[in-house]
Amino acid sequence: MSKELIRLRDLCMAFDDEPVLNNINLYINDKEFLTLLGPSGCGKTTTLRIIGGFATPTSGDVLFDGVRINDVPPHKRQINTVFQKYALFPHLNVYENIAFGLRMQRRPDPKDPKRMVKIPNEEIHQRVMEMLEVINLKGFENRKPDALSGGQQQRVAIARALVNRPKVLLLDEPLGALDLKLRKDMQIELKRIQQQVGITFIYVTHDQEEALTMSDTIVVMDKGNIQQIGTPEDIYNEPKNAFVADFIGESNIIDGIMVRDRLVQMYGKQFPCLDGGFGENEPVDVVIRPEDIDIVPVEQGQLAGTVTNVTFKGMQYDIIVDFRGFKWLIQTTDHSPVGARIGIKIDPDGIHIMKKSAYSGMFGDYSSFSEEYDELDDASLVPDEEESGDET
């Protein structure tokens, strides 16, 4: 990618002494599509508002092109925002909403560079019409915002920001209010617009799938801390801790022990893997994605368990398998009936090892899938043994 455009340095934010952001360090490149991803209340909007200039950080710096802009008011930043609930001006029609930013702009007169002049009406008209074309809303100029559908309001909000040709566009869950089908269409649409106008997008969402499809870089946040920064592939394949593994996609997270490099022990059995660099016999979290597990006859499997739940998902079956009290999610195209004993095989590249973290033990168990919730304390080291049937 190209050069760095925005940097957040040691950013902290607190409301009434309640910390909301802790030491956020992050840089954003020019023309990058960066996504802030995290559960509700983790501080995504707050981060965006600090970048936009609507909130002042308690400590730390915001740099734009290497210049500290903490104290620059929003109207002087080359940044525009698409707000969480659009915030279109209700008393203005679509045309005037989009033209709003242009009407406010002053720029040096081409004849006399010392004088600041308004943008001429013809140019405003031309640029607004151009934008209406980009967002596919020609003919809607005279509608008031409350006479538009959610998706149309959404697109007007994007046009209203983009027409100013900002260097950076901030988008706060712009697709949150739309139904699934429209979301998918708008995701593609947004990505197209970003590539067409060639500017930086900082995008906020709590939808991991949306983040994976659209982003160049994903920043995973939780409780005001950055958990991981990386490309969608990095984040999915190499999650740093149990929180990220659980939040991005589905994961089985199992307690394990690193016997040595490239060999991990779970359930008292040893599994070859590709990771290394851990201490000998260091306790670790093992992530296994549901689609990386092969179902085989019991005697050929590395582990054996009982199917407790099967859900048909169209493309595949989601089956819950009980391995001595710890329940795994497996995605497979083969049907296995509830109650069946099955064996599983996991390829070395299907196993991802993570260091233990504060999130260890909190995620990655699918017990709540079945109607019978098993209390489990230690499922890791007892050798494989028959499990009493837990028919549902």
Binding site: R49, F54, N80, Q84, A87, F100
Partner: protein
């Protein structure tokens, strides 16, 4: 049983309305009486209305009333609107008690407000007198007025004071209905705060401001008690003049001027209520 019940309750209703409106009806009817009696009908005429317009005292007080009401309305509307915005920007914990403080003057008995304002003005004037005497002795450049009196100025201040809460009360809800991000959005698109206020907040809360102004104007026109205690002897509002006329011989001109006052307030109230009903319909449609 049931029918008797409805009959009784209807009778009761009728009585209530008779007691409420019969005096006003009587007043209006006799304002068109040809004779000067308030009990004997002598035929229809507009004489009393004609006389009204030649009565210097009444015309003067109509002028005072309109002037003080208009000025007080304008000033209270501006001040109240900004106060409402200040309240809105505050945190809930601070705003709630302030709103209560704001509401108390509206509940307060007019006589208490009037008397206390009167005492307050007199106390301030006394203080001023001391200061002015000292100041005038100390130097000869500016000579300050030493004796201030109740009059148009104090009347105006009192009216502004009791009008502001009504404006705050009708602007506040409009602000709270407004999307919080609108101001951010305007600033994001290049507005300073003041420009955002003009271009975005003002159009959004305008209905509330107009309702507030109309209510304030009605309250001002309508007020007697507070004016009575704050206007002193040099200024007299219409209500005060009418009261003064009743102390002497009751001329049917009172009927005429009271009728006009009644109709003015009635029309203003009707406008306020109609506007409110229309806005409720509008916002219901928006929400629905």
């Amino acid at each position: 049983m049931k029918r008797k019940g409805t009959f009784l309750s209807r009778l009761f209703m009728a009585l209530v309305f008779v007691f409420l409106y019969a005096p006003i009806a009587l007043l209006i009817i006799f304002s068109f009486n040809a004779g000067s009696s308030n009990t004997v009908w002598k035929g229809f005429s507009l004489d009393w209305y004609g006389k009204l317009f030649h009565n210097r005292l009444i015309m003067q007080s109509v002028y005072t009333t309109l002037l003080v009401s208009l000025l007080a309305t304008v000033i209270a509307t501006v001040a109240g609107t900004f106060a409402a915005i200040g309240f809105y920007a505050m945190r809930r914990r601070v705003r709630q008690p302030l709103m209560t403080v704001n509401n108390i003057p509206m509940m307060n008995a007019d006589i208490v407000t009037g008397v206390s304002l009167c005492l307050f003005f007199v106390a301030v004037f006394n203080g001023w007198h001391g200061f002015a005497v000292w100041f005038n002795q100390a130097q000869r450049l500016f000579i300050l007025e030493e004796n201030l009196h109740l009059g148009f100025g104090t009347l105006l201040i009192a009216h502004i004071g009791f009008n502001i809460p009504y404006v705050i009360l009708s602007v506040g809800p409009k602000l709270r209905q407004m999307d919080k991000n609108l101001v951010d959005a305007a600033q994001d698109l290049g507005c300073t705060w003041m420009q955002a206020f003009r271009k975005v907040i003002l159009p959004e809360i305008m209905p509330g401001i107009v309702s507030g102004a109309l209510t304030a104007f009605t309250m001002s026109i309508d007020d007697f008690v507070i004016s009575y205690f704050t206007a002193g002897s040099s200024a007299s509002t219409l209500a005060m003049t009418i009261y003064g006329m009743t102390k002497k011989r009751v001329s049917p001109q009172i009927n005429a001027i009271s009728t006009l006052l009644f109709l003015t307030v009635l029309i203003l109230l009707a406008i306020v209520n109609l506007r409110e009903a229309r806005q409720e319909r509008l916002s219901a449609r928006r929400a629905g």
